[in-house]
């Protein structure tokens, strides 16, 4: 329980996903205590529910980094954690901020107060005002709701699921049902002018292909088709993996026009090899949903007087830094790097007692 109604901290970190956890650890490494708050009952963010995508050796998907970070944070006394704490107001206080947090009810079906995964997860009991020298916003992203792309059948055609749903199913034990003919459709909610989402979400090619390979591994008799425009490049090691995947999976360079209900499973309409329309039935269609700005972005812009960032994501301001996918689409590994940079900038801001530089970190 937290009896305090006011508290001081050098840095207030809002959001306890991989980015928030990394920022706290990086500040701790520099001898700076921090207060890490999350509106939910658990730390770890969205990556907490991801499955390990290793076959025989590590697939470098980043899913296990969450567990490592949680363990490290639990061992650092300099990092204070408050869960079920929602920031609702902020006021400029010298070079820093005074932020008001209010308690959030525990979501139904969870019992965090009785069985916290780690002793550090402590729910906020009453309204709390925090004085912080700097604030790091690490509130993450929103996953695109695939039902908004209604012609792809999510929520309407049985057998059409999102990549997140497949992650969950695999993390809990296996492929849904007797899925043997599996299709992935890429760029759902990304690179789409009609939806006002012109950007590439950067991570979906990687996680979808790793999920595809894992599905083939779990059900060797399965066949996977990958509908895409182009595949993002994640560097040297990825290129070698990709060559293997190209040999093992069917790559079709076309985004389907429609998914409808078929006799047994969803039927996908797409441009066949010669450029003629074609239909094919699958058991499972997986939509690779993209990353959207955090839903709370407008609220934070107003609270901290921030200018909206690119594509509606968050941008830093005076005494406010942004880390992880709150600032734009990035992977777990990239979010970790980005958060370490934000922590370094927060350190500089505290040292200077004035707003941190906006662009690159200056040499200390």
């Amino acid at each position: 329980m937290c009896p305090l109604s006011a508290q001081n901290t050098p840095v207030l970190i809002i959001g306890g996903g991989v980015a928030g956890l990394t920022a706290a650890l990086e500040l701790d490494r520099r001898g700076l205590p921090s207060l890490l708050v999350d509106k939910g009952p658990r730390l770890g963010g969205q990556a907490r529910g991801f499955c390990c995508k290793a076959l025989v050796s590590c697939a470098r998907c980043g899913a296990c980094r969450v567990g490592d970070l949680l363990e490290q944070v639990a061992r650092r006394p300099g990092i204070q954690v408050l869960t079920q704490a929602l920031p609702v107001a902020a006021q400029r206080q010298g070079p820093g901020w005074e932020v008001t947090l209010i308690p959030q009810p525990a979501p139904e079906g969870s019992a965090p107060a009785l069985a916290p995964a780690l002793a550090m997860e402590r729910p906020l009991a009453q309204r709390l005002v925090v004085q912080a020298g700097a604030v790091i916003l690490a509130v993450g992203h929103q996953v695109f709701d695939p039902a908004r792309k209604s012609r792809l059948g999510h929520g309407r055609v049985p057998g059409v699921i999102s990549a997140g749903q497949l992650e969950q199913a695999l993390a809990q034990g296996g492929l849904p049902g007797q899925a043997r003919r599996i299709a992935f459709i890429q760029c759902v909610g990304s690179r789409d002018q009609v939806l006002g989402r012109l950007y590439c979400s950067r991570v979906c090619c990687g996680f979808a292909l790793r999920l595809a390979r894992l599905a083939r591994h779990l059900a060797p008799e399965s066949a996977v088709t990958f509908f895409h425009m182009d595949v993002q490049d994640y560097g040297q090691a990825w290129r070698a993996e990709l060559a293997e995947m190209r040999a093992d999976l069917r790559f079709i360079r076309a985004i389907p026009g429609q998914v409808r209900r078929g006799q047994e499973g969803p039927v996908v309409a797409y441009a066949g090899e010669g450029g003629q329309p074609q239909e094919e039935e699958f058991d499972l269609v997986v939509l690779a949903t993209g990353l959207e700005p955090p839903t709370a972005a407008p609220a934070f812009n107003e609270m901290f007087g921030l200018q909206p960032g690119p594509e509606g994501f968050l941008a830093p301001g005076a005494g406010v830094l942004v880390a992880g996918t709150a600032a734009g689409p990035r992977s777990i590994a990239e979010s970790i790097e980005h958060a370490a940079l934000a922590a370094a900038q927060a350190g500089l801001h505290l040292a200077a007692g004035q707003p941190a530089p906006r662009g690159e970190v200056a040499h200390a």
Partner: protein, 165 residues
């Protein structure tokens, strides 16, 4: 394909035509092809391929292609396109450029000539004029000079095929 054979200004030329602006947003995803009813009947007809060739600047290849005239403007492609390209409007723009370059198909040219000469594609005979009289309307003649006056003799006369723009 040699880059030297491509006309980099072709896509801008299309974009300047009414309805042609969308071509600049196309990233060749093929959602349009997937839903095209013409492609179901005529496998060689592939809207993504036509737009891609146009973006690459294959001017003559696109304008001379008999396939561009197969688009039936049903707008199925516009409905599915994530980039709001309005593919069938772009094809209309391409058809207009092709017609100006003298590539309109013979049937289309014949219709244009008929229209210019007679003001209509259907012939008007005694039957039609009897009906008009019953309705108290004046008779129309086979070759009214007013049509030429309205359309302008020059604009009405289609250029023969092969005579460049």
């Amino acid at each position: 394909m040699r880059l030297n054979d491509c006309d980099p200004g072709f896509k801008q030329e299309i974009a300047r035509e009414p309805g042609g602006q969308g071509i600049q947003a196309c990233f060749a995803c093929a959602a349009c092809t997937a839903r095209c009813p013409v492609g179901e009947l005529k496998p060689e007809y592939d809207p993504r391929r036509l737009l891609r060739l146009a973006v690459l600047g294959r001017r003559e290849e696109v304008l001379a292609s008999p396939l561009i005239w197969l688009c039936c403007s049903c707008q199925s492609c516009s409905e599915v396109c994530p980039q709001d390209v309005r593919c069938s409007d772009v094809l209309t723009a391409i058809k207009n450029l092709a017609a100006r370059a003298g590539y309109a198909p013979p049937s289309g040219q014949a219709m244009a000539r008929q229209l210019a000469a007679h003001g209509r594609l259907l012939t008007v005979g005694e039957f039609e004029n009897e009906k008009r009289a019953e309705l108290g309307l004046p008779p129309v003649s086979e070759e009214p000079a007013d049509y030429q006056a309205i359309l302008g003799a020059e604009a009405a006369a289609p250029r023969p095929a092969g005579e460049g723009a």
